[in-house]
């Protein structure tokens, strides 16, 4: 599958934003109001900023961005529509939570209910992003039980490292945050390894013989393509640039996540090391997301000569 760069930016940026938002809600639930107004506002602006940048960039790959509002209408059947609705709806409790949690408008008894609502909606939004891909039966690598967990785990891991980074900048960096962030980084590593293991093990059991129905006669291969230059279906579904580098890129994701864990540990002694940890986690998320697209093979490639899918 062709990786649209706006979709990679969208899913990693808004994923990190929703992960951060959900974790800020957790902080609100356990600690009440933010330690300082400046910290609370900065964290909320970064969370909502990442979400907003992501959502805006997701409209860049549309043929008609001005019609994007129409995507809110088909939530009964479409996970893409559900994602859009959840993303928009989440803003309301998120802004209210940010206002009371940061201390801009002190209302201590509202923090917990707003934190629960915002946190649940944030995680549901990330889950629905994963569902868009997981429900596509046409792409074996996405139609997989781990897909949704990959999206959730990377959202929370990048969110947690960003939370640690912000906290370290504000000079109040409890050792607990190191273990907390690292737990999410390790969880993301475990989930992505399980996902890769699962897609590598899944049989490529659809063949060109089945797709054409000509297997009843014999062995089928492509003799003539129906065009003179590659068409939309081949460019969009047949993208295979990273497939041959998959093993290297997978190692890069693993190394980046392990380094992020080590950098977070270094944060116990070295100031601002958590910033580097967050950068590494985001880098790992971007490479993983690119691979997620580039490694995915679409069933329709069978009609264009692929032997199996």
């Amino acid at each position: 599958m062709h990786p649209a760069y706006s979709v990679i930016l969208f899913t990693t940026a808004s994923g990190a934003g929703y992960g951060l938002l959900a974790l800020l809600c957790l902080v609100g639930l356990s600690h009440g109001e933010a330690s300082t107004l400046a910290f609370g506002l900065t964290a909320m602006v970064i969370a909502l900023g990442l979400i907003t940048i992501g959502l805006l960039s997701s409209t860049f790959h549309l043929g008609h961005p001005e019609r994007a509002w129409r995507a809110l209408s088909q939530w009964r059947s479409s996970w893409l529509s559900r994602e859009g609705v959840l993303a928009v709806v989440t803003y309301v409790p998120a802004v209210l939570f940010g206002v009371v949690w940061s201390g801009l408008y002190p209302a201590l008894d509202l923090i917990k209910p707003l934190a629960v609502i915002t946190g649940v909606l944030a995680l549901l939004t990330v889950m629905s992003t994963g569902k868009i891909y997981a429900t596509l039966a046409t792409i074996r690598a996405w139609h997989n039980g781990w897909t949704v967990w990959v999206y959730l785990a990377f959202a929370l891991a990048t969110g947690a490292t960003i939370l640690a980074a912000i906290t370290s900048v504000f000079g109040n960096f409890p050792a607990f945050l190191v273990w907390f962030s690292n737990a999410w980084l390790v969880a993301a590593l475990a989930v992505i390894l399980a996902y890769w293991r699962s897609i590598d093990a899944a049989p490529r059991d659809l063949t060109i013989e089945q797709a054409t129905g000509l297997g009843r006669m014999g062995q089928v291969s492509q003799w003539e393509v129906p065009h003179t230059a590659a068409n939309y279906v081949q460019k969009e579904m047949g993208y295979a640039v990273a497939r041959k580098h998959a093993a290297k890129l997978r190692r890069l994701v693993i190394v980046a996540l392990v380094l992020a864990v080590l950098m977070m540990l270094a944060g116990l002694a070295v100031p601002f090391a958590a910033l580097l940890s967050a950068a590494l986690a985001i880098f790992a998320a971007v490479v993983q997301r690119w691979l997620f697209f580039a490694e995915a093979q679409h069933v329709s490639t069978l009609f264009y000569g692929a032997k199996a899918a």
Partner: protein, 265 residues
Amino acid sequence: MTSLPPPTARKLGLVIDLDTCVGCQACVTSCKEWNTQGYSAPLTDEHTQGAEATGVWLNRVHGYEVREAGQDQSRIVHFPRSCLHCEEPACVTVCPTGASYKRAEDGIVLVNPETCIGCKLCSWACPYGAREYDQSHGVMKKCTLCVDRIYNDNLGEDDRLPACVKACPTSARHFGDLGDSSSKVSQLVAERGGYDLLPEMGYKPVNKYLPPRARRDATTSRAEALPKPDGSAFDRLFQWADKVLSPGKGSARANEVDHSGKLEG
């Protein structure tokens, strides 16, 4: 609404005969000609004067080589592909805007070009690669089953057919109601063992493909299959004429086919 209508009684679709299709591309060009000014207009082409000419086509004819067990020659099957107007089209249910829809009255799957946002998700959901995105128009294009021909009162009755069906010189394409078991297309499917593409995907395509018949060239076009001289007066006359007319070398028997590929004389 991108939720599907209840199962439609009428299931308009195509039956494509892989035995008689000769790969002439007439259906491809007539589809383009009609639809670039019809419901899905325009079907944009890009770089038409360059080496990388590309464009939106709703119907494409592939060629596949099939190696049959026990045959020394492989066989070419011309294979037209367009939207199959599935009964369970996930391309419709994934659409976030309602631009993609399946008509309750006849089962035709359409895209409304006025409300499509061009997110391409429907093309990802189609296992058949039947939808093509129009870069310059910013919306998804697909076969409309010539909805603007088949119900068009301005056309004569025998023109109220999809352009591809109308154009096919070998009658390899048939149009009709596959929901009606007594229709001509349904009977054709029953007689010839018409099949679904990728039934294991669960999309329940309406369009059906008729498999190529068993190859006949073994009995019709090979030298040993041709009639042998029967020793009649006419045969002897032709053999004599052949001998007289052939310069030098010994004569060939009448009706013997020369497979050497060399020109005589």
